[in-house]
Amino acid sequence: MANFEDLTEAIVEGNEDKIKLLVLELLNAGSTAKEIMDGGLIAGMNIVGDKMETEEMFIPEVLRSAKAMSGGVEILKPKLTEEENVASGIMILGTVQGDLHDIGKNLVRMLMEGAGFSVIDLGTDVAPEAFVDAIKEHNADIVGMSALLTTTMPKMKETLEEMKKAGVRDQVKVLVGGAPVTEDYAKEIGADGYGYDAGSAVRMAKEYVSN
């Protein structure tokens, strides 16, 4: 008999075939898609998130779990009602203008997707206006900005100002990150949060949408 514990375990192992099989078995046994989604897939990724914070799981393993999880999501999606079929939240993500570094940003994307977010990745060298347009177009909940260079950090502030000007600042929570960025800097420019690593960014994003 398949059970939810096996499914969360398969998520932690990142075993996609096993996840698909268990999802189908659970559906056959009468669980609803929503139950499997929350009690199996998301619950499994929460364990993965915890294990990443305690340094038991390393980035490539976390990414394997996130990837494997999406195999289960694909089966469940068509079976969710319209109401159920919404992501945990919608995030606009990008490296600010003038900056081409994207490893950290990509990591955040993959982990956010693993946590059930729908992520619109604008890539690197993203102009302030492009962030604003994307917020409007996708009705986003969260904006994530990244910068690796001290010289491009001021673009975060400019982007925030552009959001205010366009009247969309209050509809989103803004998270900033990247090696030179600090908690103090985030406060100074008026961002809502600062993630010192990809895991903490995901944790904060989850808090924002649950409130």
Binding site: F58, I59, P60, L63, M110, E183, Y196, D197
Partner: protein, 482 residues
């Protein structure tokens, strides 16, 4: 597909050398000359008789001049490799050549107590906790007693040390005894644990550390132990402690010549007593007296490397010394000296590298310092590995597949191999915020936490009850003779 590629050779490790073979040759000749011309003073009649019978010249009752030929002959029978086993007869240490193993030192008078931070006299309980820690730490390959227990009868402290080591770890042991009778009792205990005299000789779980007064004066206890252990075929170190500027000329070359003349005298006696006796020589050369403070520095840079080179030249396994510091605290100096000495002994290839975790030039020990050394050794082990350069490790197909725009974080190849890279345990690599979230602790504080955790959680495999009882009987018998 044919795969032929000529003229290939690869390094499997970094390497270091301080003495060339011709320099070693010169040093060796100097030792031979000292033995023939000046000779050694021996304080055990059996040793003198053995040498005289073999052709040495004896004057003044105990002054013995040893012809070079006897030394040459001894090399033919002395083993180039010495095995030490764990308590379960696994042959875990194969010392010789450039293969390094690490262990604690013995008999520190004091301990820097990790619970209170205070320096105090060591007690038997400290040895027991030290052994539990050693039993756990991956890079500690053999144990010595670490501390001198102040709370037992001092006449029998070596028996208590041996019992504690046998009880609280399964790792190989290097024991030290004050008198000859202590050595006999230590062997008795080891034989009980190994399952008898023959079993111990076949799979020795313990070696004896023999200290000799100086290169040219060999005390009675040292010679008695050497003869006894040679007879039994059990491994031992033979370490004269010639000190530059005191018991030898101040130059490194001369201190080494005197010291190693003494080593070679011991080697000859051991092989005369029993061919094949497993003999271990010192892996540091040129001890000095610090003329400012009168301490003998342990982490002295100038005594490192050359003695290991010399032992490799002679083909005799070494007892080296590293992971030790002159610092009074587990501080920056302690970490730096421990790291530098462990690194040099590893890269030169000392065999039994002892004194890991020593502070205060051998007068104090610390459990957190030992845990830090274990981390340093983990680093060094990773550093010493060679780099494989081949088609498989170059991954040219993968590079082409991923292309300039892709990344490797979530590809299967990364997943398959990322765990092969080294990760620290005690050394912190967190971001500033991550480090702060974990308590913002220094290395020393983290080491204390680690020691507390290990002592709480680790339970070494106990000796079978009847064996433990029989071992304790040896201690009791010695006590009853007081």
């Amino acid at each position: 597909m044919t795969d032929i590629f000529s003229n290939q050779w690869a390094l499997n490790s970094p390497f270091a050398k301080k003495l060339s073979d011709s320099q070693c040759q010169k040093l060796y000749w100097a030792c031979l000359e000292i033995l023939e011309r000046t000779g050694v003073q021996l304080f055990a009649q059996e040793a003198i008789d053995l040498l005289e019978k073999a052709g040495a010249h004896v004057t003044d009752g105990n002054r013995v001049r040893i012809p070079a030929g006897l030394v040459e002959k001894a090399f033919a029978t002395a083993p180039k490799k010495i095995t030490l086993c764990d308590r379960n007869a696994n042959r875990v240490i194969q010392a010789g050549g450039h293969r390094s193993y690490f262990g604690t030192g013995s008999d520190c008078l004091n301990i820097r107590d990790h619970r209170t931070g205070e320096r105090r006299r060591a007690v038997l309980k400290d040895i027991e906790e030290g052994m539990i820690l050693c039993d756990y730490l991956e890079h500690i390959n053999f144990v010595m007693s670490m501390f001198l227990p102040s709370d037992v009868h001092q006449e029998n402290l070596d028996r208590y040390e041996m019992e504690a080591m046998l009880n609280f770890t399964t790792k190989p042991i290097i024991y030290v005894t004050t008198e000859f009778s202590g050595c006999v009792d230590a062997v008795k205990m080891a034989e009980i644990v190994a399952g008898g005299e023959k079993a111990l000789a076949q799979n020795p779980l313990a070696a004896c550390y023999i200290n000799v007064t100086t290169g040219l004066r060999h005390n009675r206890e040292a010679l008695e132990k050497l003869l006894f252990l040679s007879e039994k075929g059990l491994p031992f170190t033979y370490i004269p402690s010639a000190q530059g500027g005191v018991t030898a000329p101040i130059t490194i070359a001369s201190t080494m010549a005197i010291n190693n003349a003494g080593v070679l005298a011991g080697l000859v006696i051991s092989q005369l007593k029993r061919e094949g006796a497993p003999f271990i020589m010192p892996g540091w050369g040129g001890n000095m007296l610090d003329m400012r403070t009168t301490i003998q520095p342990y982490s002295d840079p100038e005594k490192r490397g050359q003695a290991i080179d010399f032992a490799h030249f002679l083909g005799i396994p070494t007892f080296a010394l590293a992971g030790c510091s002159e610092s009074k605290l587990v501080d920056e100096q302690a970490a730096a000296e421990a790291a530098l000495t462990l690194f040099t002994d590893a890269i030169f290839g000392g065999n039994f590298v002892h004194d890991v975790g020593y502070l205060e030039s051998g007068l104090c020990g610390s459990l957190p310092q030992l845990a830090i050394c274990n981390e340093i050794l983990s680093w060094i082990e990773a550093f010493m590995k060679g780099v494989e350069i081949n088609d498989k490790t170059l991954c040219l197909d993968l590079i082409d597949e991923i292309g300039p725009e892709g990344q490797y974080l979530d590809c299967q190849h990364t997943l398959d191999h990322f765990r092969e890279r080294w990760y620290p345990n005690l050394f912190d690599r967190s971001s500033f915020d991550g480090w702060q979230a974990k308590g913002g602790k220094s290395l020393g504080e983290r080491a204390v936490d680690e020691v507390n955790r290990i002592l709480e959680e680790h339970k070494p495999e106990p000796l079978p009850k009847d064996i433990a009882k029989a071992v304790h009987k040896v201690v009791e018998d010695a006590e009853s003779k007081l």
